[in-house]
Subunit: 153 residues, 2 copies
DNA sequence: CCAGGTGGGTTTGATTTTCCAACCCACCTT
DNA sequence: AAGGTGGGTTGGAAAATCAAACCCACCTGG
């Protein structure tokens, strides 16, 4: 069955939501950009890595760039669109640090240029307030968009 | 092979990164909390949905609550930890709206309590600045954590 | 009392993906 | 020429997904 709900969350996940895709982006952001590094650091089987990279390049999230000819060698770099996905990774990391770990066994700490440890917050860019569930209201813009589903009121 | 990199991003994805899990959360946040609604609105096969829900409940992201006895009926509600994952979904949605669509065919608009459309931004909670890749520095806290991988400098 | 409907699943068997190891090729180094 | 490295491809076994059918408890209408 197809996802009956038109939605940018679903569309984005269709692109980067497969196993390893976001881990590949993590590595690329950290600076590990070559095939063998990506395979080692993500744990992805090499054939799967090949298909994930192809998809991310086709979608314009990564680009394949030569860093040497003779011998031909290349690496995968984030595009501007790809860089914006780092926000998703930071948010995921923060959630895991808070809920999957007891304090101070965090495997990685990100430092912000302001000098403090990065504790990312998702805010409303209009008012600057932190996003809380009870402050949000969803407005469907397209058909097929009822809360209860196709058959209900 | 196991993921050789200890990382909260990987751990969080291991929990909510399987196909349909985040779509289930989307629906729960929107208010569709019953098995049949979730199956319809996410497109997940019912058996897969069963295993995803079990996992999310076991992990403390959702809870199964009775809204009627005789007949026994229940729904899946987000826990406080689950609610915090809404930030991830908002960030994914914003990315998809920006990069996967031409303006104004967005299937959903979220309104913030401040009265404006929610355009979420990920910010540093210490300084309030928006998170940009070049402002971040990663600090490994655990072994196995070099940029280039186990065999490199 | 029986027929049908609804919520919430489980079962079955076919189809896809993933996985892992091995292999391949071009190029470099010794 | 022998071996190493980067960057993959190939083959077959194992695991996950899929759709449809089935099941059960409970309710409702006739």
């Amino acid at each position: 069955m197809k996802d009956p709900r038109p939605c940018s969350i679903a569309d984005t996940l269709a692109l980067v939501g497969e196993k390893y895709s976001l881990l590949v982006l993590r590595e690329v952001f950290l600076g590990a950009r070559r095939f063998d590094q990506l395979a080692r650091n993500t744990g992805a089987p090499r054939d799967i890595l090949t298909t994930r990279l192809r998809r991310l390049v086709d979608a314009g999230v990564l680009e394949k760039a030569a860093y040497s000819e003779r011998p031909t060698r290349h690496e995968y770099r984030p595009t501007p669109a790809g860089l914006e996905l780092e926000a998703v990774l930071m948010t995921l990391m923060a959630w895991g640090d808070r809920h999957l770990r007891t304090d101070d066994d965090r495997p990685m700490v990100i430092e912000h240029i302001c000098g403090h440890e990065l504790l990312p917050a998702v805010t409303c860019s209009a008012c600057g307030g932190e996003v809380r569930h009870e402050d949000l209201t969803a407005h469907p813009q397209a058909p097929g968009w009822t809360v209860t589903g196709p058959t209900a009121a």
